[in-house]
């Protein structure tokens, strides 16, 4: 018998809901459906609900007075069996320059996975990647959908500094470094766009449930976009999907 979803307190100010299961778009849909339902429900104090692949963390501003009652209330909310197959999300186009100057590990990936550099770019730009959630660093997107042929192990010794905007692969994940930081992913390109802007509210345009596609741009286009961003003349392209 499945014990999921499991709802339990986590410390004095949070409740964790674990839906179990694997990483999949289907699980995410379920998690996001209940996230919305919980956010809309009646709380006695200010809360924030965050999701990961298969969990929701409900953080309360203050100590939860009646933990038992609150867990029961949440149990009632996640009892619903059938989830409407309807979702609205955005599809963003992220420009990436796969020039060798930025794609520091393109040669390595090419040899290790027996692909031409053109193959790598094609395989990386083809999928519609699912944004599962934002975590790890401010603005870091957990993406799903990387082609198996691009899976590659992390570097044996991480780089001391990976540039902001670097696009990389670590095992079965692809992602963008939102700021310069040490990192062990294999780097295949760079995006000129900001994933996180601390002076904007919200500080990122992306949300769990949205999707992105990488669009290959030349080095000239990269420089052009970088200039537009500096002049605050650039708008990130996206389309709304309703279904």
């Amino acid at each position: 018998m499945s014990k999921y979803p499991q709802i339990s307190p986590l410390g004095d100010r949070s409740i964790l809901i674990d839906f179990g299961g694997e990483i999949s778009s289907g699980s995410l849909e379920k998690v996001l459906f209940f996230k919305k339902k919980i956010e809309k429900s009646n709380f006695k104090q200010k809360v924030e609900v965050i999701n990961t692949y298969n969990s929701l963390l409900i953080s309360y501003l203050f100590t939860i007075e009646d933990v038992y009652g609150e867990v029961l209330r949440l149990k009632g909310l996640v009892r619903q069996a059938n989830i409407p197959k309807k979702s609205n999300y955005k599809i963003f186009q992220i420009p990436v320059c796969y020039d060798k100057d930025f794609g520091l590990d393109l040669e390595y990936i090419s040899k290790a996975n027996n692909l031409t550099i053109e193959d790598i770019i094609e395989l990386h730009t083809a999928p519609l990647y699912q944004i599962y959630f934002i975590g790890f660093l401010p603005g870091f997107l957990y993406l799903g959908g990387l082609d198996k042929r691009l899976h590659i192990s992390r570097k044996k010794s991480p780089r001391k500094s990976v540039e902001k905007g670097a696009v990389g692969i670590g095992e079965n994940q692809t992602g963008i470094y939102p700021k310069s930081s040490p990192g062990g992913w294999q780097i295949l390109g760079k995006t000129p766009i900001d994933l996180f802007n601390k002076n904007e509210d919200p500080p990122t345009k992306f949300s769990a449930g949205d999707k992105i596609r990488f669009v290959a741009v030349s080095k000239n286009e990269f420089v052009e976009i970088e200039k537009e961003i500096a002049d605050q003349n650039y708008t990130l392209k996206f389309e709304n999907y309703e279904g």
Binding site: L10, D12, E48, T52, K198, D201
Partner: protein, 289 residues
Amino acid sequence: MKAEIEILQPGLFSSIQDLGRFGYQKYGVPASGVMDRYAMRICNLVLGNPEDTGVLEFTMQGPHLKFTESTSISISGADLSASLNGNLIPMNERIEINAGDELKFGKPRSGFRAYMGILGGFISEELMGSSSWYEGLTENIRLTKGMKLHYSSENLVEVDTYSSLKIESDYVLSKEIEVYPGPEYDKLSVDQQKTIFNSEYTIEETSNRMAVQFKEDFENELEPIITGPVMPGTVQLTPSGKLILLMRDCQTTGGYPRILQLSEYGIQVLAQKLPGEKVGLFRKEYPNF
């Protein structure tokens, strides 16, 4: 009037902190905020400030500060031998400051983190609803020599002195860290569940505002989990046996099993432990579970 605090010496690691950022974890932003919420609360209460007013947090070695205008301050948390113009000053009390006064800290006597509140709070950068400093997000990360902090020397309204305020300072010396079982606690064997509460742990030198680590390894064969939410107080267990006790500046998600979760009081006690100190884990149960 332009009132400034001049930083003559910054101390080991000093920063402005408040209750931290709430509502931005979904963008991957750490909560931040004071490590010891109780000390911050006391600092503000004795001054008559709102409880969530930002304070300065000092680590083990306090700074040397000079005030350009009169104000009132308060010191709480660790006892780092605070002195004003060379004279020791009491903790958890309102201290009057005159223009030109110098505040200095000396030998750490108890605890690891001291706090300084100031009447009316600091005038400082606010980002995402908080004035807490955090590397990569705020202009300032830590006090540096020559830096200037700003405060208001106006509106010095007389406030209740809270003379009846009862202060519990025993926690600073406590060696028991209060924890709840975490989401992956049940994955430990019965023996391991016993051992974890019957062991003594030493605070690692590398411990900081992001995480406290223990020197002792805790052998385990737990599998990594699918990356899930973590928060300040979450205790992760790595495959190599490291216990990582996440603190205020921690990441928002993680993939190590979360075997325990510190209570708010547990975080407060742990915030006052020095590297090398020994502590035990004390099990707390959720009410009615």
